[in-house]
Symmetry: C2
Subunit: 472 residues, 2 copies
């Protein structure tokens, strides 16, 4: 009864399978009567899996792979059948002993199916040029750790080797350089990359996100302010993008001169919280080249744009590049946080207790199956086209109310006359049963699920049209 | 068949209940045929739940409460029966529409049972003087957001009101003061509070955690280096603690003078990663008073010590204070991250997309039931006493190998002659089927689950004794 073709319930399938095993467990007695060792640890199966996972992630901290289904009470069983009395419990993280439901410390003791599930889920949609991925618990942690990976990479490049000096080791303990170097991340005005302190130093969307929190003196470049539709203003837009790129280079030089070199550049393919600001593929190609020229890592933050809403799985695919980035971070629609990275940005020292949650990888694998089976990216492209056409028509109809309709796939937005009118429209639409979100000072953003079809678009446009008529 | 008294499988109970509903779902048709509004939004039930949740958390960002079981495809159903076409999908976070398994954005659209589950789980074990809790996805995010709450609180106190100036609003957008003030957090040498950039500035356990990552110029105080057993060296230990407290006050004054006032002090009840360093209740009481005297918030980080391993649910309960802290953060054994805080440290601006994961609260509620039903804190106290006695005996037997046995509950540690011997002991114990962890330069730490009973202690001591004999 669990199996179904209907995508709205596809996720329950995987959970039902998960559960029938759990039910079976309740038949088994409580605990083992002592340790039992079959092989050395890590045994051959753990070594084999470590090698497999090594193709995907750094495995420097992995102890061995676990069979969580056989682990019980105070006993952890590994994939080679070794049963150990656990007096460490995943860095003190298993409150009442091993039960069917655990939250393993993925960085040191992953479950047996972890490499396979990573391959089925995250790796199967890896961006061009990237075959390595690190999972994290949320978007902010993904970006924080991506920044750390860029800092470590940059410092090793600067040193010429990976061996820190005694001075590095002692000075870092008290937050001082050279151990804690004065590196910076270049970000863009209007960008949003999260709210923890490292991320927040690169977030410049709204004052309310940043107010009262200490920050870093890092360079902030202007993001292009383009005119829409992009194809009607190509010359002006190209000039604006050139101006911003020039400023980026100036800032990199300035910050190098003041002793805070730019280790990485972070940017969203479409600035989302900042008001759905777009730039052209040409801008991103040139920016990527500037990063390369100055030896800075290039980090594309796809936390909001990733997962299919633009009609491609990653928004940066619209740029048509083989080597679009050094790091691509994700969260939200991906159900788990994390980031992809090029081989050279691998860092053994990226670590925490949970490193994400493997149950989310299972769910993601199912979500990706549905996306493929139902051709949802094509659906998004079709719905998005209809949505944007509808917005253009409404904009022609209400020129004093609406402007700058824009979008890729269903990742669309439109500007409203002013903040007060925007907020009133959002509330009136909700009263009529349509949930919308705002972004920037006076934009409405559209962020439907990937199952938003053309008939949903028409339903939305009808309601929206009624609401606009009330505000004209 | 799912119900069982056996604590090793208690968690499956809650999941089985969860699942039978899911199975029922598969009978239902796929999607609704349009929006359907019954009340204004938020309706009376949402308002009632918002009021309930308002007793526990800030609800400034809550839109309404959702009935995720009735939500399907593109339609979100609220607790008042309003069915809305969702063109926003929880800030773009529901990839293929509403299915049974979702990951809701808790800060804006929590499920109906969220206040009840918070009350059953986290609030039922709230530290003395705290009735508010904020969930987060991991330990680092918990501390990052706790720091932000302290900064915001401190700045509002400094201003005398909560209304930022225009200069505050504009300067914070470019990372400059006064909008991003030069506040600091005072931390302790040997402390560990996480690895994201704000946390990392307060972490001083190992160089490898901090190396190559830019940091803040924040004050770092010495943590007392005590002699064990504590009760045999009371006079010397009291002197050492007095020295450290004096240094704390000096640093607070110095940092105020250099324009980086100490907004908060963060400390672990037992420094865990740093080598299981203890201090006396008297030290913590005096430190709490110093924080109060200088107007700094007092943040107790119980990420590793919390959840029962010390024989009390929170390690700070051993201090015997009615008002032990302004903020207590947690993660690990609690299955979800988060922090408790006093009313005055509430901040509307603490926010992110997921704010944790409600499924973890369900699991935690079950874990707490097991802890109560099986009197596991008493069990821990009993096992811990036996463990520590056993370590004392081994220390007497091997005085050249072992020293400084110490602990609270089963949260114990012992020092080994040197780093190389420690690591060899860890590996040899594992070969014999016992998993242990190291901490600090040459300590072994014991972190069993709460179901580690006296007979497990004896089993461990037998193996440990054999391993020590090989190293003497």
């Amino acid at each position: 009864p669990c199996l179904s073709q209907q995508h709205s319930i596809a996720l329950t399938v995987c959970v039902c399978v998960y559960m029938s095993k759990a039910a079976a467990k309740t038949q088994v007695e409580f605990e083992y009567d002592g340790p039992s060792m079959k092989t050395e640890v890590p045994g051959p199966r753990s070594k084999e899996l470590t090698k497999q996972l090594g193709e995907i992630q750094n495995v420097g901290a992995i102890n061995f792979f676990c069979n969580y289904e056989e682990s019980r009470g105070n006993y952890l069983v590994d994939v080679d059948g070794n049963r150990m009395l656990d007096v460490y419990t995943q860095i003190s993280s298993i409150p009442i002993g091993y039960a069917f439901v655990n939250r393993p410390a993925l960085g040191i003791m992953p479950p047996e199916n972890f490499p396979e599930k990573l391959a089925e889920s995250l790796l199967s949609v890896a961006p061009s040029g990237m075959s390595r991925v690190q999972t994290m618990a949320c978007g902010s942690c993904s970006n924080e750790n991506a920044y750390k990976a860029m800092f470590i990479w940059y410092r090793n490049k600067e040193r010429g080797h990976n061996n820190p000096s005694d001075e590095d080791m002692s000075s870092c303990m008290i937050n001082q350089s050279p151990g804690c170097p004065d590196f910076s991340i270049l970000s863009f005005m209007g960008g949003f990359h999260g709210r923890t302190m490292g991320c927040l130093a690169t977030t410049h969307s709204k004052a309310i996100h940043k107010l009262d929190v200490p920050s870093f003196d890092w360079p902030i470049a202007p993001f292009p302010k383009l005119k829409y539709p992009l194809e009607e203003f190509t010359r002006e837009n190209a000039q604006e993008e050139a101006r911003c790129l020039e400023e980026v280079e100036d800032l990199i030089v300035q910050w190098r001169q003041k002793g805070r070199p730019v280790a990485g550049i972070v940017i969203e393919p479409i600035q989302a919280e900042g008001g759905d600001n777009h730039a052209t593929p040409d801008f991103f190609k040139k920016l990527r080249n500037i990063a390369r020229k100055h030896g800075s890592a290039f980090h594309v933050d796809e936390v909001q744009t990733g997962g299919g809403a633009t009609g491609k799985f990653w928004a940066h695919e619209h740029w048509g590049m083989d080597d679009p980035a050094d790091i691509v971070s994700f969260s939200k629609k991906m159900l788990t946080g994390g980031y992809y990275h090029k081989d050279e940005l691998q860092a053994y020292r990226i670590f925490n207790t949970w490193m994400g949650d493997p149950s989310k990888n299972l769910f993601l694998a199912e979500v990706l199956n549905v996306i493929r089976r139902e051709n949802l990216l094509e659906e998004v492209t079709r719905s998005g086209k209809t949505l944007l056409q509808g917005l253009y028509q409404l904009q022609d109809q209400y020129p004093n109310l609406l402007s700058s309709a824009r979008g890729q796939g269903t990742f669309c937005a439109i500007d409203i006359r002013d903040d007060a009118t925007r907020n009133s429209i959002l509330l009136k639409a909700r009263d009529k049963g349509v949930l919308l979100g705002g972004c920037g000072d006076r934009s409405i953003r559209f962020r439907p699920a990937l199952v938003f079809k053309e008939y949903h678009v028409h339903m939305f446009l009808n309601v929206f049209s009624d609401v606009l008529a009330e505000h004209n």
